[in-house]
């Protein structure tokens, strides 16, 4: 249980940076309001609160990528991780400590996005909201996994450089502000080779009441990616920290 000490340090390290915390909560909420207002005028199906809320929630997880990548990379670059590696902490302790602290934040993001979405008029049943977590939570895993990979392999500077690219990519290939089927072509193919569009589609359908059976394919994609990225995250961490 020694990972708890390090997890609680990582937790503090994250939550004592109030600006980034606020950004990670307020920016998605702001975008949700903005696009819902646009939707009122242009009457696009995709800009209704019902459709926007799950998309923006998953989009907000881009912050999880950044937070987890930056902390890990910083610790790697400073001698702090080196010090930790001389302690009795085991690999599994490290993985847990650099993973668990982001879960409460992901839950908070979900809470804020759904609260704003519902205030804007999204009409979901309680059951469907709970059901949608079977895809939304794994999407958080996908993002923390990506963060672990980046944090293990890249420097803090490199991470902030590709960070904005990544956020843009998620918002485009996730089909959050556009109908991917309408765009079509290679663009649609790339989007559905990545997990984000699958996650967003699945969440939208579940919230619309289609049940889980109809989104099974999407779910497999998301779960597959969650497992692969998480394993890759662990491997990158191990690769960079193993004594050699």
């Amino acid at each position: 249980m020694r990972f708890v000490s390090l997890a609680s340090r990582n937790f503090k390290e994250l939550y004592r940076e109030p600006v980034s915390i606020l950004l990670g909560l307020l920016m998605p909420a702001g975008l949700l309001v903005l696009f819902a207002l646009i939707g009122k005028n242009v009457h696009l199906d995709i800009f209704t609160p019902d459709m926007l809320t799950p998309g923006v929630t998953i989009f907000s997880f881009a912050f999880l990528i950044m937070f987890s990548a930056v902390l890990l990379s910083k610790d790697r670059q400073s001698a702090f991780l080196l010090r930790l590696l001389t302690t009795p902490l085991k690999p599994v302790d490290f993985i847990l400590a650099y993973f668990v602290p982001y879960i409460p934040f992901a839950l908070l993001q979900i809470l804020v996005c759904f609260a704003v979405g519902i205030l804007l008029g999204a009409a979901y049943s309680v059951l469907n909201v709970v059901l949608s977590l079977v895809v939304i939570l794994p999407m958080a895993l996908v993002c923390i996994g990506i963060g672990m990979i980046l944090g293990s392999l890249l420097s803090e500077g490199q991470i902030s450089a590709i960070g904005s690219m990544l956020i843009t990519a998620i918002s485009i290939f996730g089909g959050i502000w556009m109908d991917l089927q309408m765009v079509g072509g290679i663009f649609e193919e790339i989007s559905y080779a990545l997990p984000f569009a699958h996650g967003v589609d699945a969440a939208r359908n579940i919230l619309a009441g289609t049940g889980l059976g109809n989104v099974a394919t999407h779910l497999y994609w998301v779960y597959g990616y969650a497992v692969i990225l998480f394993v890759l995250g662990i491997l990158s961490f191990r690769y960079k920290t193993a004594s050699n």
Partner: protein, 319 residues
Amino acid sequence: MNKVFNKENGDEEHNAIQTINLSKRYGDFVAVDGINLEIKKGELFSILGPNGAGKTTTIKILSCLLLPTEGTAKIMGYDIKENPQLIKEIIDVSPQETAIAGHLNAWENLVLMGGIYGLEKKETEKRARELLDLLDLPGREKEQVRKYSGGMKRRLSIAMAMMSDPQVLFLDEPTLGLDPQARKAMWEKIEGLKGKKTIVLTTHYLEEADALADRIAILKAGKIIAIDTPDELKNNSKSMQSIAIKTKNISDDVVKGIKEMYSDVVFKANKIEIKARKLNVDKIVDYLRSNEVNIEGISMKEPSLDDVFLELTGEGGNQ
């Protein structure tokens, strides 16, 4: 000079650290080159050497951060390759670079280390309080440490290595960047641990090694080129004693007379400086007196560890 630690004195029971042909290569570059060391339990052992000599690399291998390319080492009887997990329970390391959690305060940083080593809460808090005293951060214990000055961070980083009360403590340049008071406090703390723990300390402050270490190894380009007590190192050194005598009324003839006694004599600015392996101070003073030279002051310098170091490693260090 190159006295290797006597095998008979150093049986396994009494060794805290033993290295056997320990080597580390990076590609073709040899960072650590066949080191054989025996460090006794309770010994304070200092590793000196120019930049890039392989001190940090050696410590990283001994603390199970790096695997040796060849050879191995035992810490308290455990092999670094076979039992790193057991070794990590009984050692602690203060890395060369400051290693602290920036968003935590000093207290939290110390408590963090206690938790990682699985200490009881009460014991953790007791030790953290003691170490906070050592840190001497009046009124700033509750401040996030990223706002501390470099030296304050440094002190905390070293104190964190002492939380687990390890059997073997590695201190890589512990007093780098500390002000004289903090350095003195750190020396006292290290003195206090002497005999109770095995300590391996690297430093570029040779007077620090001189004052603290039981034995010193001098490393150059990955090899041990000397290993002994500080006193023996100085005694065996080819370095010279020097004497400087201040006087106003010395004649060229008298200077010449001294030059006949010693070969290394410099006279300038009313000061005559003589250097030799062994100086006969009596003879020099008598000679000056008998020539009615007014001696205004005398200062004498014994060979220091610095001289020994420069002599052994060459003035240009590794280059």
